[in-house]
Amino acid sequence: MTIQSINLLVKPTLACNARCLYCHSLKPTNNLSIPLLEHLLEKLAAFTNGHNIANVSMNWHGGEPMLMGSGFYETVMELEKRFFPHTQIRHTMQSNVCLYTGETRETLLKLMHARIIGACLDPFHPTRLTAQGTDSFPQSLKGTLALLRDGFFIGMIYVVHKKSLEVVEDLYYFFKNLGVPSILFHPLEEFGNPDYHLTPQDYGEFLKRLWDVWEEDDYEFNVSPLAEWRRFLRSGQPCSSCEYGAPSRESPHIVVSPEGDLYPCHRFQDKRIHCMGNIGDLTFEEILSHPWAHLLSDSKENLCSECAECEYVSLCRSGCVATHDRSGKTFWCEGLKKIFEYVKSKESFGDADVQCSHAVPGCI
């Protein structure tokens, strides 16, 4: 197998300046140390040089990666110069963007050439709080607008909860008007608070309402996951996200915790399952030959019998692996079926309009 690219998701800290009601991440931990960072980059360089891999990306995740401050990312750039003299790493980040200001901003502008960042906002409900317990919306909005002014492509994420069902249209237009190029509506999982607890049926209902608003707006805004489903239904283009698509073995994805522990997905790091070892002990060759290294693509290739026979398998491909139950079905299955049935029934997707390529099994 030839590796085309390698994507590292690095969590330099699990500490966070926010206290989102539903967050899994806030657990006591050390930050990624400079010696460990150096070790990681040295090993990564040895691997990419040895295999002629030119496309290397690092997604700084957390916790809140901006808490590491400008000094840490200046060191990243110095080490990159030392170990990757001929390759430019593509740095991206997932952040609440509240700290995008001053020196941190200056440094990130130098580090993140591709100007790609993921951010998260809840404009209408106080689910994303500061450490002081106030709504972090004003700070996150300020950071988002500053990033847009600096030319960043912001992949915005909104966490869908029970109360989101009351404000579907408002959410759509708020994010569209904010000027971000895309919005991902991600369902809130494993959260017991009855005010916010989202069932699969709720999620399906939310997506149905969202589809109606999106359709009425002529599908102008890039709304995930609806857009990837619509692309597939109209042109047969396979879904591209790791949830609904098929992750490529040629572009492996590895998660590194602050302690250097390695996981196939950051969701597993949150749950501390499927740890493949530590960067201190393993080479990248060893990591990629670990049985769990390709867990995401393996799970999409070995669906449970119910998923394999489902008429919507090409749209869902069993969903996010981290949400699978013991049978291999996603927790969101019933909600997803609800939206797929709805979309299929829409007039614009009548038989004449669906030009499915049948490139993937079970195409509806």
């Binding site: 404009p123 209408f124 004003p138 909005l141 300020k142 607008l145 002014r149 249209e169 408002d170 237009y173 708020f174 569209k176 008007n177 904010l178 000027g179 707006d217 002529d218 102008e220």
Partner: protein, 273 residues
């Protein structure tokens, strides 16, 4: 490079900028074109129809002329005189929205001048007149020139590439500033009373941020990308219902146009019997 809209009196005061020079007196405008800074003049703006514009025919160079029709009762029939001027200079008629302005729009359009509406304070009656002009723009079979802001907004919807009213109405302080007759630098003529802030070029961006932070009507409006808070800049309590109806009409027209065009293409691709 920024463009400053200045009275002829202050022509020499703004160096290293492009200039729109304005005056009630056509002769002064013509004289400004002989000024040492004349090569920076991108438009001259005639603010009165009273004077005979014939002098413009003898201007030392060709430059776009913006004729502003400003008030009720003005002798707007004098727009006719600019037909001759249009042989030498491109002419546009900017019509301030006042009661009865629709007649001026039709006259200017019938003379084949591009038209731009200048909207100040907007009440329901004026909004109704704008809707009448919009109907004329959308359905007149003889119209040969754009009427702004309708035209750019329609194209924005058609191409799914919206321009804000700030851009369409030539009021974006990042590109254009206005100098009052007293020499005071302001955001625009319409927003002369609004505090521009330390850096006027960021005014719209900051306004946008404020309107989003309020999470009010603008942040949830389906036309915010076309409007950009243009009306709320002057009056935060401005009622947008009429403006939204105008945008909706233009959006529907763009959709209809797209649909008709797609049908035309399909019918032309179909093999002929």
């Amino acid at each position: 490079m920024l463009t400053y809209n200045v009275p002829t009196l202050f022509l020499d005061a703004y160096e290293d900028t492009k200039l729109i020079v304005r005056s009630d007196d056509v002769n002064r405008l013509v004289a400004s074109l002989s000024n040492a800074h004349a090569d920076r003049i991108v438009t001259i703006q005639a603010r009165s129809l009273a004077a005979d514009p014939e002098a413009l025919l003898k201007a030392p160079r060709t430059v776009p002329v913006d004729v502003v029709v400003g008030e009720p009762g003005a002798e707007y029939e004098n727009i006719y005189r600019y037909s001759e001027v249009a042989r030498k200079h491109p002419v546009r008629v900017s019509v301030r929205v006042f009661p009865g302005f629709g007649k001026v729009v039709k006259l200017a359009a019938s003379l084949n001048f591009p038209v731009k509406l200048e909207i100040g304070e907007l009440d329901r009656d004026l909004a109704a007149e704008i809707v009448e002009s919009l109907d004329y723009y959308l359905h007149s079979s003889t119209l040969g020139q754009p009427i702004e802001f309708f035209h750019s907004v329609l194209l924005g919807f058609y191409h799914n590439h919206p321009l804000t009213l700030w851009q369409v109405m030539e009021e974006d302080p990042a590109e254009l500033r206005f100098v009052t007759d007293e020499g005071k630098l302001v955001l625009s003529e319409r927003l002369a009373a609004v505090e521009p802030g330390a850096d006027p070029s960021t005014y719209i961006d900051e306004l946008r941020g404020e309107l989003l932070a309020e999470k009010g009507e603008c942040s949830l409006c389906r036309f915010f990308k076309n409007c950009g808070g243009y009306f709320r800049a002057a009056d935060r309590k401005f009622r947008c219902d009429d403006v939204k109806r105008i945008f909706q009409t233009l959006r529907n027209a763009a959709k209809e146009l797209k649909h008709d065009y797609a049908q035309l293409v399909t019918s032309e691709e179909r093999p002929r019997a």
